[in-house]
Amino acid sequence: MNDFQQIHSRRKFLAQAGAGFGALAFGSMLGRDGFTARAANVAINPLQPLASRPPHHSARAKSVIWLFMEGGPSHLDLFDPKPALDRLAGQPMPESFGKPITAMGTAGNTIMPTKRQWKQHGQSGIWISDWYPHIAKHADDLAILRSCWADGLNHVGSVCQMNTGDILAGRPAIGAWTTYGLGSANDNLPSFVILTDEAEVNGGPKNWSSGFLPATFQGTMFRRDGTPIFHLSPPGVVSDRQQRSKLDLLNALNRHYALDKSEDTELAARLNSYELAYRMQTAAPEAVDLARETEATRNLYGLDDKLTAKFGGNCLLARRLVERGVRFVQCYCGSGSAWDAHSDIEGNHSKWCKISDRPIAGLLADLNSRGLLDSTLVVWGGEFGRTPFNEKGNGRDHNPWGFTTWMAGGGVKAGTVVGATDEIGLRAVQDRAHVHDIHATILHLMGLDHAALTYLHNGRDERATINGGEVIKPLLS
């Protein structure tokens, strides 16, 4: 079944287009040869590939804000206290733990205890270290997943996997899968947005690529300097009225061109895309204009402090985007691997915890007070955690075998701890949660079944979770 069978007159075509997506219950199509129709297993409106689509099941969250602490924050010093580290301090790792291949060849080094003070917080009594005092006040909103594990040793592969499911680049990002599955929930902004605060993310745009999915679903990076999107505003020598008039001519030319090609939905989609682009020119600058927020709100995110202003600004922007129907915001803290504390973890993490603590707490509080937390899934984590043994005496190496991610908001069981690492926090041992499980859970909360959301590529019905993935049930409310 295909569009051409359904749409064989211009009149009917326009009637259906006008009736909105709900009326277009036929097979999806992007490519004119019908191949994409068979590759995709969601019904995509060829006129508006980004039109909103119904979820597989009722969604618990409408949007995701993923706070990505790039470089690998230490679970052992933040959310996963291990008294055994004190006992084993200065000794080599007991032989029973084997000798993993690490990024820096440090597995023979001695165990390093944490210097943190730990306390239980809130009604739930969740352990959080003194590096995160503001977030600790929201302990009862958090669902802490202490048993994460991943496949990569290096940053670039691990960041790539946390975004796309695979340590090798080339697959669609989880945000692209979400957009593919659900379409957009707004009609003047991109649906999948990336925010960075420091250097380029390791691996760059591969991490928000649409991979083998149509490019329509790729993420868009919003910049903080200049216009948020490249080419968002007309060149300086073109005024708005002038551009509108050009667009009117363009529409007239394109309609004229399509007179004897009315069956061609691709031409119509192209016409629509110019109108969407035109609306975006106004909507995106408005969305990123933080000056429209009250001073109280701005301060809540730490915009009054030079140290926290940048990442805080991104957190506030993430909220504004979510309010405007953006489905997926990938919000990096320390982009370009700032959390990578191979040495001097004290100095490194003290700084980056301070940078992220108030803004994240502010985001949780703000979402809560606006009634947005119920419909927004907040995810916190890095691409991996850090090792119990030292590197260079005062740092920690990469640890993909066991680390912590937490979630809050839409559909998450607040005030809970799931899973556990071993005695020294090296490996996840209880309720182990692979990256694919995290992705399956996020898709589930967004109303999508990770196993059913597929796209035929090179002979496989590819899915976000590759071969694996199970929804982490204990995390769900």
């Binding site: 019908g34 040793l153 680049a169 760059g204 300086g236 020598v237 001519l249 030319l253 691709e266």
Partner: protein, 756 residues
């Protein structure tokens, strides 16, 4: 297939040193009747051309197409008008719009076979190779950088791009083209071109920061296996990496049988390209420079040595033990597998590698204080001798085997690099031939001969896949859809051929023509099938909505590269200079590119064709990225065609497009002067190769009036207006700016970005 005539040719080519006796696998896989009967594995038949008499038929392609249509009670469309046809063919073969002169010449040629002459002219233009090489580069996952974190430049990767362009322009026989890419180093070791061709298997993404080289090697081998299996055989081998293929008769062992051909393969980034006479001259000059600078360099090396040792030690110590052990052994004591590990590590530890981690630059950066000052002084002195230095020799990049003995290949449990199971010998798909391949060690190069054997197996005329897959790719690019719509998946999950007999007939013609790709273009393009109008008819659409039977020509959106090239062409700015290192056109202001993006200063360089734009894996040129340029991390046989607001923003708002619109307007102005009706006619002629209709002229005149008013107000307010470029005659700045707006709009229009 079974017996392979090419085995004899291979022996003749490389001479016999030793034959590895074929031994049967212990348990050859079993296949069901259904699997054995799958169409793609059957020998290519020699179907007779349907005997039909119809004046629509121009060549046998039409007979097959018409027969299939008749069976469904569909009639083909009439031929399109000559202007549309020449635009279609020119974009198709060269990726550029026809010039007004070319259109006029075709319109004026009323002799029979006028279009055949157009096709011949296009096929012999150098722009043909540039256009069709791009299709091949998609398959080869071609990029000029490593990918992963640092995304470092691969300095000589572009030579492969030039090789492919030349191969298409020379109409290199496809069998030879395949042989060179798989095993050029073994088959023609003295021929630099053949060795550069082996870069096909060097385009894998790679991680310079990897520690576990055992895993990294396996990932590279997987990349090569997936790519070779998909590109030359049209099979989704990758699905059989972890288990037997779920749909196709590709057993897991077959994955590793194909992989075993590459077991001893490693990167070769130092392929010498200098003729021996020039080499002698170079060595003489170098020796002169070395003598004069010996003391100075010795002094510098003394300063550098401790830092250099630190850098190397720190790097090497991060490797797992087994790799450190291999590094510390004398070369003769290393196993073949260890040699593989060392070759990989040497990309970073060998001073002759462009990725050497302790390069002079890296070491100098680590020097501090007075030491650095002293070093800088010495370096300054050294630089005074630079004019005596002959410069670096040009080098090519590709692959070679590391000697005559290959590490063993194992079937890997779940595809994990460290789950070795049974040993596997090189071989084709078991369903085609379960025996191990016969390997002949080449006489004049230290290599296993494995890849030569594979090259010959793939290009054996009896191979049921190779010719079918390639003619289908050619068809796919002409019509936007292959006879098999999944050009790299001829398996059960792929699409069935819409015209199986035609596919076989074409495959047969392909081999009979001496594997000539240009002969295939001629055959396909001089058919009535190709010349049809693109118009849609409801009666036919009801029966065949997807146009599988080709009752009309399928309209196609141009690729990002072609849109850019077309814009440069209509702007009169296209620099057709061919070959050489890649160019770096402007990025949007503020865009980062790790690995670097040194924008060319000279606009002449920036205005070269898109195939010469540098391909940085992690930061593809944004305009191409937005228009579905493939990812370059894996082979792409069929680009997506998507429509997005970011495409609209790029064409509408980028400084580059406005700049080109100004040049386009300047060209119109120079040709047509300030008469607006003449401007409209000229702009249409350049952009669309046709005259505007009356209603279009009326539409544009409306626009002129409306835009005059808007821009007049802006001019009176003292605002700057975009003016046509390179116009010397006096112009009304408002009228001129309106013309720029018109030209800009035409370049955004559907007619401009579609091949009709």
């Amino acid at each position: 297939m079974g017996c392979f005539a090419n085995a004899g040719r291979l022996l003749a080519l490389i001479g016999v040193v030793g034959l590895v006796a074929a031994r049967a696998e212990p348990n050859p896989p079993e296949f069901s009747d259904r699997e054995r009967a799958h169409w793609a594995f059957q020998t290519v038949r020699q179907p007779s051309v349907p005997s039909m008499r119809d004046k629509w038929i121009r060549n046998p392609v039409d007979s097959f197409i018409l027969a299939a249509q008749k069976a469904q009670h569909i009639s083909p469309n009439p031929p399109t008008d000559k202007v549309t046809l020449v635009r279609r063919a020119t974009l198709d073969l060269t990726g550029l719009p026809p010039t007004p002169g070319e259109v006029d010449a075709f319109l004026a040629d009323r002799q029979p076979k006028a279009f055949d002459r157009v096709v011949d002219r296009l096929l012999s233009s150098p722009q043909y190779g540039e256009r069709w090489a791009r299709h091949w580069l998609d398959l080869a996952r071609y990029a000029e950088s490593e990918g992963f974190k640092a995304d470092e430049t691969r300095p000589n990767a572009w030579r492969y791009r030039d090789y492919v362009i030349k191969a298409f322009n020379d109409d290199k026989p496809y069998d030879r083209f395949v042989q060179e890419q798989i095993a050029g180093d073994e088959l023609w070791p003295e021929n630099p071109e053949a060795r550069i061709a082996t870069a096909f298997n060097r385009h894998y993404p790679d991680e310079s920061n990897a520690r576990n080289l055992m895993q990294r090697r396996q990932e590279i081998l997987n990349d090569i296996t997936d790519t070779v299996g998909g590109v030359f055989s049209g099979l989704t081998y990758a699905c059989a990496r972890c288990h037997d293929h779920k749909f196709d008769p590709i057993r897991q062992v077959d994955y590793y049988r194909l992989q075993a051909f590459f077991a001893n393969t490693a990167a070769d980034d130092n392929i010498p390209l200098t003729p021996s006479a020039a080499l002698t001259e170079h060595q003489l000059r170098l020796a002169g420079w070395e003598v004069k600078t010996r003391d100075l360099r010795a002094e510098m090396e003394e300063i550098e040595a401790p830092k250099r040792n630190d850098i190397i030690k720190d790097y090497a110590e991060k490797y797992p033990e087994e790799i450190q052990t291999a590094l510390n052994k004398p070369a003769s004591a290393r196993t073949a597998f260890e040699a593989q590990m060392v070759a990989k590590a040497k990309l970073y530890l060998d001073p002759s590698s462009h990725q050497y981690i302790a390069s002079t630059k890296a070491v100098a950066a680590a020097l501090k204080g007075d030491t650095r000052k002293h070093w800088d002084e010495l370096n300054k002195q050294l630089q005074t001798y630079a004019p005596l230095h002959p410069g670096n020799l040009p080098l090519g990049t590709g692959v070679v085997d590391l000697g005559t003995e290959a590490p063993k290949t194992f079937l890997l449990g779940r595809g994990n690099w460290d789950s070795r199971q049974q040993e596997v010998a090189p071989g084709l798909l078991s369903i085609l031939d379960p025996k191990p391949a016969t390997i002949t060690m080449p006489a004049n190069v230290r290599s296993t001969g494995r890849r030569s054997a594979l090259a010959m197996l793939l290009t054996d005329p009896e191979n049921p896949l190779t010719a079918r897959v390639m003619v289908n790719r050619i068809w796919h690019h002409h019509f936007g859809r292959g006879i098999v719509a999944t050009p790299s998946d001829f398996g059960f999950k792929g699409e069935r051929p819409t015209h199986p007999a035609l596919l076989d007939w074409l495959a047969g013609e392909f081999v009979r023509s001496g594997w000539s790709i240009k002969a295939m273009h001629r055959l396909i393009m001089t058919s009535s099938t190709y010349e049809q109008v693109a118009t849609h008819f409801e009666t036919a659409a009801r029966i065949d909505p997807e146009n599988k039977l080709l009752w009309h020509f399928p309209r196609q959106r141009l690729e990002g590269e072609v849109i850019r090239d077309s814009a440069l062409a209509v702007a009169g700015r296209l620099n057709v200079q061919m070959s050489g290192p890649s160019i770096f056109p402007e990025l949007p202001a503020g865009m980062e590119s790790r690995g670097g993006w040194p924008v060319n200063h000279d606009s002449l360089d920036r205005d070269r064709r898109s195939i010469y734009v540098f391909v940085r894996r992690n930061t593809r040129y944004p305009m191409f990225d937005t228009f579905d340029m493939p990812d370059t991390h894996e082979s792409c046989a069929r680009r997506n065609v998507t429509t997005s607001p970011l495409q609209a923003l790029t064409l509408l708002n980028s400084a580059q497009m406005l700049d080109l619109a100004q040049s386009f307007a300047g060209r119109v102005f120079r040709e047509a002067g300030s008469d607006r009706n003449r401007q409209i006619i000229e702009a249409y002629r350049i952009a669309f190769a046709r005259s505007p209709s009356k209603s279009e002229t009326a539409m544009l005149n409306d626009f002129f009036q409306r835009q005059d008013k808007i821009l007049r107000e802006r001019a009176e307010a003292g605002e700057r207006l975009a003016q046509p470029s390179a116009v010397t005659a006096p112009v009304d700045p408002v009228h001129a700016a309106v013309l720029v707006d018109l030209c800009h709009t035409l370049m955004n229009s559907n007619e401009f970005v579609y091949r009709n």
